[in-house]
Structure formats: C-alpha cells, structure tokens
Homo-oligomer: 170 residues x 2
DNA sequence: CTTGGAATGTCAACAAGACTGACATAAACT
DNA sequence: AGTTTATGTCAGTCTTGTTGACATTCCAAG
C-alpha cells in the first residue's frame, strides 16, 4: 500500500478519495450517523410502547396520504405480516385510519388521524432538529454532496421511490 | 410558509437548504441509503446464519485488534449481554479469539482468527464495492460533503469514537 | 491482610420486529 | 366460472435488543 497521506496530485483526476481507507471511513460514518439519526425519535417512541417500525409507517403515510397497503409495503421493504402488525396497533390506537377503496374495494387507503398527525409532527420535529443542526454545521455545498452520495448508494428501485417522493410522481 | 420554489437569492447566506422540505429529503435519503448500505453484506450473512450484529462485531474487532469487550461495547452501543451472545457464536465458530488480559485478568482481548479475517474481507469487499460505486458516481467534493454532514449528525460521544478510529487515538 | 465495592464478563429469560408458510376473504379480471 | 390480486390473520422461527442474577477479578480502605 502506498502512503495515503502524501499530498494529492490534481491536474488529472485524483482517485485518492476511492482508497479502501476512505471507503472504510465512509462506512463507519454511515454506521455512527445512522445511530444519531434514529436516536431522538427512538427516545420518544420508547415512552409510548412504539418502535421504529411504527415511526416509518407514520412517516410515509403522512408523506403520501391515501397510500395503499401494498404501496407502503414496497416503500418500507418489509413483509405484509410485519407491516400489518404495526398498522393494526396504529389503527387500534386511533392514529391511522384505513378506508376501503372507492374504485377498487380490495384496497385499503391509509390516512393519519389528527392524533396520528400530532405524533408525526412530534417525531419529525425531533429528527429534523438534529438534521437541521447537521446541515447548518456543514453548509449548503456539503449538504448537496451528502444527498448525492446517499442517492447513489441506494438500490435502483429505491432511487425511484425516493425521487417519486421528492419530486412527485411523473 | 413562503414559496420554497422561488429562485434562491445569494449574496448573503441562502438558508433555503434548511427548509423542512430539504430536511425531509435528507431524512428519506438516509433511510433508503442505509438499506442499500447494508443490503450486500446482509445477503452474505444470511447464507451463514449470521446477522448484522455479527458483521459489526467483526468489523470493529478487525479495526482494533486486541480491543476489550467493554471497549467494543461502547463503540457498538449495545448491552454487554447482547454483544456477548454474538461473540459467543463467533468464538465457538472459530472466527474470533478471546484472550484473557495479562495485566487485568478480568478483561478479554478480542482478535480475528484467519477464518474471521477471511469473512471480514468478504463482507467488507461487498460493502466497499457499493460504496466505491457511489463515491465514484458522486465525485470527491460530494464525498467530502457527505462525510461532513454525517459527522455532524452523530452524537458527540460517537464523533469521538469515529475520529479515534479515523485518525488513531491521540 | 482482609473485606467490600467496582469492573468485567457470562448465563438465562423475555420482548420487538423481522421472516416464512398456510389459509381466508373479497373484489376484480378474463 | 375460474383465476388473479389485495389484504388480513394465525402460527412459528430467528435475530438482536432488553433486564436480572451471578461469578470472577481487581483495588483500596480499614
């Protein structure tokens, strides 16, 4: 292995950012950052016998009100049994409403109730606060790079889902 | 709320990158990207009755050979009982070696065996391949921003752990 | 030197949340 | 009428987190 600390030579393309050491740093950064990312909502959820799975469902129902169970399934990437357990408790607790579809009555369309929206806001606020601090700390250009790398890291099917949510369905 | 799509006005500091919409995109990007981030090693692990917890232990033992259980605990952020179960199977399977400390016999120092190192390499290679593709796609400046935001997102105690691993202990 | 507390690690039992597989129902499609 | 699709449910398993109880070792105060 050559000395990774020697001065980068630009002029062509410097590929020093692709060394195993750089990649490893990125891997560890993802690990530690994801912990921070979930820490604040997790604390709130723990107080009310909910978990991260409930948060995810609430988040995406809020983002796409009226979404079907199947659609939510493909975004969350879990089995219907797993999602169903979560939805059942959320509906029982009056945070989510499930309405039978009008055009296709097999489908269930999911909505947050007022109570659901209240919890969503509480969780979002906590998560956004940390995100905002990180963004502010790093500055707009770092944020652009951050998103670019994350998007490139997704599975292609998830890139589609992500862009759909971001820009609205085409 | 004012129109988030009006043209950014620079000259002062544009704070448009701190809108709730921008933050929400970052949150969703983290969610989807983390799934991609873990997907490849997860597939390998599933074939051998191991899970993500085993991967994490192996990764950090490889990074800091001879580390104590307690030290590993603080990096991984789980309880000692949880870590112990994972370590027990790794030791039983001959991937990790646990040596009683020489100065303090209460401590166990952890090392990867040859087989452990082989698995570490296999998992790392899979994860790095995706990381490398993402880095390459996004370019060096994006990568710098990526790391900057992730670091700012960590809990301060984890920032310390991360920098220690990155630069070596001071 | 002894004794009690702190540090370290192990074992057991339990819970959340993922999974698979099987099956039921209703609606839509052919 | 028969098949496919969307959803929900029951049962069982696995991973990985938790707490509680306990053993061993170290160290420091009496």
């Amino acid at each position: 292995m050559s000395d990774a600390r020697s001065a980068p030579v630009y002029g062509g393309e410097s590929l020093l950012f692709l060394t195993d050491e750089q990649l490893r740093q990125g891997i560890e950064a993802m690990f530690f950052a994801y912990r921070g990312f979930t820490a604040d909502p997790d604390r709130i959820l723990a107080e009310m016998a909910y978990g991260r799975a409930h948060h995810r469902a609430i988040h995406f129902i809020n983002r796409a009100p009226g979404t079907t169970v199947n659609n939510l399934l493909s975004i969350l990437g879990v089995t219907k049994q797993s999602l169903n357990r979560v939805l059942r408790t959320l509906i029982a607790d009056g945070l989510v409403e499930s309405r039978v579809g009008t055009v296709d009555k097999r489908e269930r369309h999911l909505f947050l109730t007022d109570a659901g929206r209240a919890l969503e806001t509480k969780l979002s606020d906590a998560q956004r606060a940390r995100m905002r601090a990180a963004y502010k700390d790093a500055g707009p250009e770092a944020v652009a790079g951050f998103k670019q790398v994350l998007e490139a890291m997704m599975d292609t099917s998830m890139q589609r889902a992500y862009r759909n949510l971001k820009d609205g369905p085409t």
